[in-house]
Each structure stands twice: as C-alpha cells, then as structure tokens.
C-alpha cells in the first residue's frame, strides 16, 4: 500500500511539474504530463505498429539471448572443467569483456550482413559475458567429495557432468542468466537506437526526433516493463531446477 502511495505521489509531482512548466536546471516544460502520456498510451495500445515494434525487440532478444545461453554455458563448462580450454578461451574473454556492447556497434555494422544481424550480435555479446563468467564460477565450485562419491557409485565422466557439475553450478548459472538478460536489453536498446528500423528502442528514439514527446515516455516505460518481465521469466523458468535449494533454506 505504501509503495502504491509513493508512486502516486511521484505521479502527482510529475503532473504538477509539467502543468506549471517547472524549470530549474531540470526542465519540465517539454515533458508531457501523466494524463497526456496515459491518453497516448491508449492510442498506441490500439495501433498495430506499436506491437510490431515490441515484436521485433522481443524477437531479437529471443535469438540473441538463446544463442548466448547455449554458447555461454558450453564455454563456461569447458573452461571450468578443462585447464586447456580455460587457457585457450580466457585471454579472449579478458580482452573482450571490458568492451561495452555499445562500443561494438560501428564494427558490428561493418561486419554483419544486415542491420538485424548486427543488432542481434551486440545483444548476444552483452548477454554472453555474464553467463560465461558465472558458469565458470559455478563449475569451479564443484564439490570434490561429490565427484568422488559419484565416481565410486560407478558414474562416467558424462554422468558426473550431468548429475554433479551442472546441478552444482546451477545457482550461479541462473544468477548469470538473470544478469545476462538485463545486459541483453541494455545492449539491444543501444543497437536499436543507433541502427534500428523497428523495435522499441527505435520507437523511443524516433519519437524524440519526430517531436512526439509522449511516445518517449511510453517507450521508456515499455522498455522497463519488458526488461523486468524477461528477467522474471528467466527466474521463473529456472525455479523448478533450484527447488532443492529453496526447500533446504526453509528448514
């Protein structure tokens, strides 16, 4: 209740500031008020184009993120399990990881065959590193006793990977997946703003260039909402796999 109240206070402040053209360092005279934005939102919600933008963003996220999850977990497990793989892959990670996805945009546009693929590429890169790093971290923490226990019960290397290493690394991997989803959205938006033709980032930026200010705020809210929704989906999808942890914590 208090939280809803707090939001209402902020909305009221926003309403007053934009109605009276508040102007001290931060300017509200160009910012549409909540009522205008609300009306525009209803208009957008019934226009097909709005959903086309959302669809394109979600499609890119799905492709890039799906690819990042598979690549990230596979690379992470290889690095965590094999000294050689770690020595080969780690230098690349160390060099590429500090480069923000946004900085990849010019090169991605030059290298990739289409605008679509360059946006998907930088989104993929954004999601990839947190997933790799967390997977390596999780795999590194594999319990030696559990590996021994499994071996003495007749488990093969594959079985140990499947029954011991991966489940043990899973809490860390899931954390990486959630962070990766956040970074994926961040990177996607950067890509769409700079080089998109569709997508919610393009929608927001073109609203600015076309002086359709209410749509900026709608874009921002939708971006925030979709980002949270996707992160929530990732956590919910992984929750059944971590049931053992939750049950253990209860006791």
């Amino acid at each position: 209740m208090v939280r809803i109240g707090a939001l209402l206070v902020a909305a009221l402040g926003w309403h007053l500031a934009s109605t009276y053209g508040f102007d001290f360092f931060v300017r509200f005279d160009n910012v549409p008020g909540p009522l205008v934005v609300g009306a525009e939102f209803l208009a957008q919600a019934s226009s097909q184009e709005f959903y086309v933008h959302i669809f394109h963003s979600m499609l890119r996220i799905a492709m890039a993120y799906g690819l990042a999850v598979v690549t990230g977990v596979v690379l992470g497990v290889m690095m965590g399990r094999s000294r050689f793989a770690e020595d080969v892959i780690l230098p690349y990670i160390e060099i590429l990881r500090p480069i923000p996805a946004v900085a990849w945009i010019p090169l991605a546009i030059l290298m990739m065959p289409s605008e679509q693929s360059s946006i998907v590429f930088i989104t993929f890169l954004g999601a990839l590193f947190p997933i790799v790093i967390n997977t390596v971290h999780g795999v590194d923490q594999t319990s030696k006793v559990l590996v021994r226990a499994a071996r003495s019960l007749g488990a093969s290397n594959t079985a140990i990977l499947w029954h011991v290493v991966l489940p043990g690394a899973l809490p860390s991997i899931v954390a990486g997946l959630a962070i990766g989803m956040g970074v994926a959205w961040f990177s996607l938006l950067a890509g769409e703003i700079i080089s998109g033709q569709y997508g919610i980032g393009y929608f927001t930026w073109s609203a600015y260039t076309l002086v359709e200010y209410p749509k900026i705020i709608i874009g921002m809210l939708v971006i925030g909402g979709l980002g949270s929704l996707c992160t929530l989906l990732v956590r919910k999808a992984c929750a059944p796999l971590l049931r053992w942890q939750i049950e253990g914590a209860k006791s």
């Binding site: 319990s143 006793v145 559990l146 021994r148 226990a149 499994a150 071996r151 003495s152 019960l153 007749g154 488990a155 093969s156 079985a159 029954h163 011991v164 489940p167 043990g168 899973l170 053992w244 942890q245 049950e247 253990g248 209860k250 006791s251």
Partner: protein
Amino acid sequence: MMSTTRLNRAAVVEHPHNYRPRTTSGKGRISVRSIDIVFATANGPHPAVEDASLEIQPSEFVSLLGPSGCGKSTLMNSVAGFVKPTRGEVLLDGQAVANPGPDRGMVFQQHSLFPWKTVKQNVAFGPLMAGVGSREADSVASTFLSLVGLSRYAKAYPSTLSGGMQQRVGIARALANYPSVLLMDEPFGALDAQTRSMMQENLLEIWSEFKNTVLFVTHDIDEAVFLSDRIVVMSASPGRIIADIPVRLPRPRTQELLTTSEFMTVKRECLGLIREQTLRAFEQQNQAS
C-alpha cells in the same frame, strides 16, 4: 525419531527387486602390498604413507586408527582408487586397483549426498549408473531406504535431514550397489554421542546381513574396538602400520560391551599406542613450524 533408527530386517531379507548384480560372499579380499604414497607439494615431495602392507579377508571388519594427518584417508583412498601408490600395489580379489568403482562403496564423513537429488534419487543413483532401468533403480532405492528406516523421507532433500539421517542415507546409497567392500572414512565423526552409538549398532546389524568387507577409518578408540574384528594402528606422519590388534570380542555386540573388562583390555592396548603416536605427531608439527 529414535524408533526409526532401528534396522528394518524385513526389508533386507525380502529383496523385492531382481537387481542383485554381484554376490558379495567370498569377495572383497583387499591386499595392500608395501605401498608408499608421496604427494608432490609446493614444498617438495611429501610422504603420506610409507611401506604399508595390509591383508583384509572377505567379510572382515577392520578399523584404521591413528593420529590426525597420519595418512589414514590417503591409505583408504588408494583402496578406493582415488590415489595411486607411488610404490607397491593394491589388489582387490587379486585384481590391481586402478580406478574407483561400484564394487567399493564409499561413505564419507559428511556433505556427500547430492543436495539436488531427493533422498530416494540419491540411493537410486548407483543402480542407475549400473544400467538398470529407472523403475528397477527406484525399487532398489526403496528397499535400502526401508533398510535404514528412512522410507518416510524418500521425497525429502538431504539438507532437510539431520546429520545422522544423512549418514544413514549415505550408507544406504553405498549399499545399493551391493559392493563387496565398504570404505568408511570417519562416517560418524560429525555426529553427537547418542546418534553415533545408535549408528554403530545399526552398522553392525547391516554388516551382519550383507557381509561386506569393511575398512573403517576413525579417531575414536571405543568405536574401533566396538565395531572391528581387527584394529590397524598407524604411526604419525609419514603413516606406517605399527600394530595390528585382533579384537576377539563376541558378536553380536551391543553397547553393554563397552563396560566389560575384555573391552577395556583391548582399549587400553590401543590407547597406549595411540598416545605415543599422537605425542610424536605433535612434536613433528612443532618442529615443522
């Protein structure tokens, strides 16, 4: 709670499943032949076990006793196949031990259950790895859970169980492969005194049923005397075998045995040896630092 710690004899005798891949009778002869185990460390080679020889007959219950850090776990791990001797050889029924295998069940001190598997899935793991179908593995797991009196907890996760219950699951899991050898490294070391003595009686009951060869590492002299046919005493590091004490106390054994004079006689013999070695170990550690 205590009533559930009683051994469920019916479960063992009936064996409602067909899976019983190995006959354990007559198997499980362990021969350790003058082995050295040297670890390579940052400070150079570190001898953990020196010239150890040990013959264990099938179905014999042998305890390894010695001061902390003397190499008990290392010696046991060479039988398990986790550590290769630097010199000498370890044989199981005449075959050189090269790798860990399901014929040697292991029970660890603690935290060795798969936390992401339910109690029953933990016990079913060995049979599954042996290639029996999941239905069959499930039935084997039920049998062994009921053997250790934990059928009610089949669907629980290990972290929701007490330490004693977790160790019973660990024992059930090791037994579910019908191993000819059971290797136990301080399996009751983390339990309180009451639970511990209850577990000791349970273990003897199980052992009398399955007749596995047992190699049991412990710090606790009472425990070693109570359980064993023989007690092998190791010296301070590097571990050598300095005594092999037969325990000729009648079976079946119950806790009343602990107060008899025969028990005291064996215990005194072990105490003297252990004290001497522990003092030596202390002096060594002092010199080293």
